[in-house]
Subunit: 510 residues, 2 copies
């Protein structure tokens, strides 16, 4: 790229840079809101976020920006680097998406989301699905309209049209298709229930219930991050009601955790999880045509993001080697050893049993929770299933897949926030993250040796470096499927995940 600030490309870069500055301001307010903002400030903060969203939308769709993109394409020489062309393509695609949508529809969706969220809270609090049903029906209708408006710019590369659900899923998981999901997720329906059954006979962990004070959990989390290269010059960790990770700028990475009473591993594992997300963001490409403010410097998909957090949470945080390292630390914090062996401590870190709640699910049952939601979304969005049938379909699915039935809709189909805002197409990424994490881990182990052995030898940093070299720098140059193909040499498949689970269950039984 030219370094003369007067070229179209420099002007485009400057435009995107300012857009990123505003996006970062939005993230800063979000972070503040979810960590320290007093409750009474919610209304004012909402107005500020709406103002910034409006500024961002204006910058991303204005006639001036459209002309800038067109001029940049004109200026592109035949010898321009492929990355430059790729960045332009991603920007044009996003512009096309934004431009296709009728502003009236955008407004109607925003309004329906606010109403949906409010009705859902009320319905969940009172266990009255009927309070939420009309809002959900309305959100489905609006999302179908959105998919219809986007259809012309959301066709596949070969011209094949995408289904409504697929179109809605594109922002989270670029290029995802129902065909891919049939090959990747549907096999979990056969694989996982027998594994869950097998897990029922596993020995238990600690001899007694135990818990740790907030202060103790906090120091253990700090120690974990210190072991894994947390740099306070670039990172900040805070508390929030729901753990999250967010990037506020090219050198400003925040993560949050919470302490849950009676679940003393919750903050510890959430810290590992959010740190995995953060490391991916910290490792995104920073030079050439990539980094801030160009699209190629961004995360490529929700599933890839999730694979990185799951790597730190499950492959490292729940490993036997880490259990050996942390057993004495937890026992010291607790003031007594309720496990008596690292193996019992490790079992405590890996409880596997079918439950009602997705966010509390273990590695084996998690995929079944997602599968249920995916199938129900298809039925609602594309199959014409009336919203009124959702509770019964949910409960039937839970019984079929997990062998448990919710006592009410609050712990059933009202448990997740996503549908209350009409977010369809989001859930599968969570499960794909497990699959991607497993497949990348197999590749890593082929190249560096078993993860357990590396951790046992204190070579945590090498594991991190491998991801930093092989995965993070790809940014948006590849989608999730291409990333896995490129790093592992194989198409994404559920088999590594299956091998990983089988091996883990064997070891837990041992």
């Amino acid at each position: 790229m030219s370094t003369t600030p007067s070229t179209t490309w420099e002007r485009l870069r400057a435009h995107l840079h300012t857009t990123q500055l505003i996006g970062g301001i939005h993230s800063s307010l979000y972070f503040d809101q979810n960590t320290v903002m007093p409750a009474a400030a919610a209304g004012w903060r909402g107005e500020q976020l709406a103002l910034l969203a409006q500024q961002l939308h204006e910058r991303q769709t204005s006639a001036a920006y459209q002309e800038l993109l067109a001029a940049a394409e004109q200026e592109l020489s035949a010898e321009a680097p492929a990355e430059q062309r790729h960045n332009l393509r991603l920007l044009q695609r996003e512009l096309a998406r934004q431009s296709r949508l009728d502003p009236a529809l955008v407004g109607a969706i925003a309004k329906a989301q606010a109403e949906g969220y409010s009705c859902w809270q009320e319905a969940k609090r009172n266990n009255q699905f009927e309070l939420f049903a009309p809002a959900l029906q309305q959100l489905i209708a609006l999302r179908l309209e959105q998919a219809a408006q986007l259809a012309p710019v959301e066709a596949q590369a070969d011209g094949t049209p995408r289904s409504a659900w697929e179109i809605l899923a594109q922002p989270f998981e670029p290029d995802i298709s129902q065909q891919q999901l049939a090959a990747l997720l549907v096999p979990l329906r056969e694989l996982l229930p027998p594994l869950l059954e097998q897990a029922r006979s596993l020995p238990s962990g600690s001899r007694e219930a135990w818990d740790l004070s907030e202060a103790d959990q906090d120091s253990l989390c700090a120690e974990l991050l210190q072991d894994w290269g947390y740099n306070p010059e670039r990172c900040h960790r805070a508390r929030s009601p729901h753990p999250f990770s967010c990037t506020l700028g090219p050198d400003d990475f925040r993560i949050t955790t919470r302490v849950v009473e009676g679940q003393p591993f919750s903050a510890f594992l959430a810290t590992a999880h959010e740190w995995g997300h953060s490391l991916y963001e910290q490792g995104l490409p920073r030079s050439g045509e990539h980094w801030f403010p160009w699209p190629l410097g961004e995360a490529t998909s929700m599933a890839v993001h999730e694979s990185q957090s799951l790597f730190y949470e499950n492959r490292l945080g729940r490993s036997q080697a880490l259990a050996r390292r942390w057993h004495p630390r937890f026992a010291a914090a607790l003031g007594r050893d309720v496990w008596e062996s690292p193996q019992a401590f490790w079992r405590d870190l890996n409880p596997i049993r079918a439950g009602l709640t997705r966010v509390e699910a273990d590695e084996v049952s998690y995929g079944l929770h997602v599968l249920l939601r995916y199938e129900l979304e298809l039925a609602l969005v594309e199959g014409g299933m009336p919203v009124a049938e959702l509770p019964e379909a949910w409960n039937r699915g839970m019984q079929e897949l997990l062998g448990v039935t919710p006592a009410n809709n609050t712990e059933g189909c009202l448990q997740d926030v996503h549908w209350s805002e009409g977010l369809f197409g989001y859930f599968p990424s969570y499960a794909l993250g497990h699959l991607i994490s497993a497949q990348l881990s197999e590749t890593l182990e082929r190249e560096l040796g078993p993860i357990e052995a590396l951790l046992e030898a204190g070579r945590d940093a090498e594991l991190g470096q491998w991801l930093q070299q092989r995965v993070y720098p790809l940014g948006r140059s590849v989608n999730a499927a291409e990333l896995v193909q490129q790093v592992s040499g194989q198409p994404l498949s559920p088999e590594p995940f299956e091998r990983y689970l089988r091996q883990k269950l064997e070891r837990l039984a041992g």
Copy 2:
């Protein structure tokens, strides 16, 4: 004001509302930067703040805004409330100020401030005044140019022109004049040194040096705020390198403190001080033509703001009654009683001795630190004193006023940040705050009885209510001098402050 959103007045309100939203975003980023932002993010955050400052400037000076103000004036009927007229006058005045300044000068000042701050840091670190002198000379020249450009719109109400220093002081202290300061501050030159001399014979406080852990200081600060009506629904307290208070929105008030090793009252008194600032902001007028986003709903001056923080820090926090209340709490936190009597604890809260540093100065010597700076500013800005003579003039002044001489310029004329950014006209407000606080306190005591007796009876809330009813609602409807006249029925004078100090010294000796 009309409630129809289509009137000029409604459009003006909407414009100001959005300006306040952006101002609040700026404050949020500032708060984040000074409490939790990692160091490496400074550059990116600087760009974000500059972008918001640019948006604010644009909104406050654009042709569209000028037309809106002009139209609002046109629309103003003869029966319009006086407040409406007053708001308009304040907006027009600010616009005139912004419009008079040559944008090239504004840019040059911003650049000189950045350079000045950087040179000052270097000069202070290395105790080399010469490293800062050229930048200071440059800042003075630019500020003189600024004063010259503003002179036509900064004349007094009767047309008398203001001096350069007075013009620079207007943003901090509206309507301040050298004549007023001669009557208010110069008497301190005679009053305070004998009081300082008198304080040399005061008995000491604790028997031994003592300190408290961060956690203990933190809980004592939390307890203090709880006693004084801290509401976590609208407030948030954090840590920062320098204590401050800031308002992020109409229902979002933040204060910060720091723990200083070896100064175990520092966080406690700073908490009281910042809480006083915050309560003033929380109590600003909220209805009619006043509150967000109108100017009349804003704080009126730095001195009034400071008077409110000093009331909580000195009149309450350092009172004998509070000492009796907090002596057992501090002794409990410390695990032993190093004072043996509330009176000794109270003396510990009120050390009075001449020192080198303004920010560590007690109530008696503080005014002398300010007087020195005020006289030096006049000499530099209006008296043609060469910058090279500043160190010697500073040291001579310290010896004359306080009887101490800095060992070097780092603890001498380089100690404060203000001049490094060319902030002239700011210091006197600090000292005026002491005078205003004393005069308002006398009025309060005339109406409610002695503060000590009210505190002794646990009637802290009544003290707060008095300020909430008599002082806070005035907003910008009066300047500092008018506020004092209106509340106390007398012109502002140094006499109540003198009476307060004499009485305090007598009691400390008793």
